[in-house]
Symmetry: C2
Subunit: 352 residues, 2 copies
DNA sequence: CTGTTAGCGCCTTCAC
DNA sequence: GTGAAGGCGCTAACAG
């Protein structure tokens, strides 16, 4: 029904093998026959059958990108960057039959461990060329073990596994983010401004990202001898705006004298700001607010949000390259992505 | 090397055909053998070879979702919603060998026509089960024709084509957004407040979304007899924050007496607000600002942004269902998604 | 440089 | 209810 390699071969008066060679381009073919084949391909509007070629070649051109929430720009930026490295369709090479491009497929796990595992299986089934796991991992031991097993199995079957923004596991190349260090520097900044009663709005308790950021925060507090209240002034929620809002009301209930609130990410920080304003508190005059990630909207917030910049785009680009084997593996298979403090207008010294 | 159907068959002491039938589940198999097969599958940790089964069955479980910019929440929300309908991996059915789930693959075109076409080819090559095209289309005639051709070819080869947020084309099921109507109501709202000098920051000129929103805006102006200045008070840019910023400075240069600025989307509106503030203008006291889409951050902006709400999540869900044939086609293959005015604090009557 | 020959792993009639 | 056999469309050795 659809036009096949054989049809093209017949029309170009060559063998199927020759057509295949022309199309994959990784084998010498006489220029004249090459041209004839290409014409036949165009005439017939031939499109390679992906599954068939994947079956025969035992690899596909799929690269899976797993994200926790594609509606969150944090993941959107990383995923877009990974995809931009896949050998740009639309780049110069708009070849007829096929290109060397990979197809990056972004899979939305919604933060659900089961879905994560399922997508991994799905990708294994598709014999994906590579898999990029982005964002914090769920720390439940069973799940961590299951993911590690799947990753090993994928690696064993020739699928490259890259982690972007989570702690290393065996058989995977890892780009970790310096969540702990960034968080520590952020809280140190607040302490340096003179804050002593600092609330913290954390993410879901079982995520590595949540834990590391919280640990960094507490390290800074501990170094200043302020860790006594830390637990009481911490509220967990989701990585979204509503959680930030609710958590802030709760923090205010626990300590009306707070002079600063640190949010586990910028989106939460937005909710924090909204809640404070609704309580009649000014930022930063009454309460300072800080976030994490430095998403595009953060610089535009009013006041501009103090936060920790994670080079998400760059990290995604690098993850994409690593996934394609276009970049040498970092020593030990693990590289850390730096986090940079962005001090802006939402933080200031506390009122007397 | 990898474990295959035959291995499972051997271990379960049945034929490969039987294993296949158990796994696809669409054929009667004795309960006892069924159990035996399932055990063998588990023991061997067998995972179906997707390409092979796609080849044999002549269909794959891939569903392509094309977006202009995955880092933009507008597309993130739609894409996430589409994907959530794909027969939830992580839902009850965590079967061993395979599931009925489709794998939604999100493809980032970056707004480039060539990439769009390339991805369509890539998906055709993969024999995707369906393709969802989201967001405004590029209006260049050649490109429109090329997309239409590709769509027809996809449809002809059994791939369902769904459009979400762009004008209908043949052989595709379409969910259009009421961009024109929404834009008209938004500008009417401004006119009703008493504004007469309204600037407009449009998106890229060759996009359907841009054109429709602009047309709605001008319809409202024309109805009020104010269309003389319309062209002069329109500036085109990208759908991003920086364009909004720059365009606002340009608008102010053209008419310092503007009392309102309408942005083609919320992200642009953010830039508009930033620029106005930098010019020492207050919102809405000096200048009213309005956006479009009602992205999550818009309600949290300060002041809260007046905008037009598009039910992106619902639209994505519906597009996903249509792609899977789980929802009956709308009459004529086209349905319009309503746009609702959200009047908030960023718009107010002009100063005297 | 090009053609021939085997499968890749699975699904699907067709018999039993 | 189950097995046997052929082929889906392509690639990858081999020859020549």
């Amino acid at each position: 029904m659809a036009v096949t390699l054989a049809d093209v071969a017949a029309r170009a008066r060559v063998s199927a093998a020759t057509v295949s060679r022309v199309l994959s381009g990784n084998y010498p073919v006489a220029e004249s026959t090459r041209a004839r084949v290409l014409r036949a391909v165009e005439d017939l509007e031939y499109v390679v059958n992906g599954p068939a070629s994947a079956l025969a070649a035992a690899t596909s051109d799929l690269v899976g990108v797993l994200v926790n929430d594609i509606a969150d720009p944090f993941f959107g930026i990383i995923a877009g960057a990974v995809q931009s490295e896949m050998g740009p369709p639309g780049g110069a090479g708009t070849e007829p039959g096929r290109g060397a491009e990979k197809l990056a497929v972004i899979c939305n796990t919604g933060g659900s461990p089961e879905r994560e595992l399922n997508y991994l299986t799905l990708l294994q089934r598709q014999r994906a060329a590579a898999v990029v796991l982005t964002g914090g991992a769920v720390e439940h031991p069973d799940h961590a073990a299951a993911v590690a097993t799947k990753a090993s199995r994928l690696a064993a079957s020739g699928t490259r596994v890259v982690l972007c923004g989570r702690p290393p596991i065996e058989d995977a190349i890892t780009l970790t983010f310096d969540n702990r260090g960034g968080a520590r520097r952020l809280t140190e900044h607040l302490l340096a401004l003179g804050h002593r009663r600092i609330g913290y709005v954390a993410g879901p308790a079982d995520r590595t990202t949540t834990r590391h950021r919280l640990e960094g925060h507490r390290e800074a507090l501990a170094a200043a001898g302020l860790d006594a209240d830390a637990r009481r002034l911490t509220v967990h929620g989701l990585y979204d705006r509503a959680s930030g809002y609710d958590a802030t009301l709760e923090l205010l209930r626990r300590d009306v004298g707070l002079t600063a609130v640190v949010a586990a990410n910028d989106t939460i920080a937005l909710g924090v700001c909204a809640a404070l304003r609704d309580q009649g508190l000014r930022i930063p005059e009454d309460v300072s607010v800080a976030g994490f990630d430095d998403l595009p909207f953060s610089a535009d917030a009013v006041p501009a949000l103090t936060t920790v910049r994670l080079p998400l785009h760059e990290a995604g680009v690098r993850a994409g390259r690593l996934a394609l084997g276009r970049e040498p593996q970092p020593p030990g298979g693990v590289a850390m992505v730096r986090a940079e403090l962005m001090a802006r207008a939402s933080t200031a010294p506390p009122r007397h």
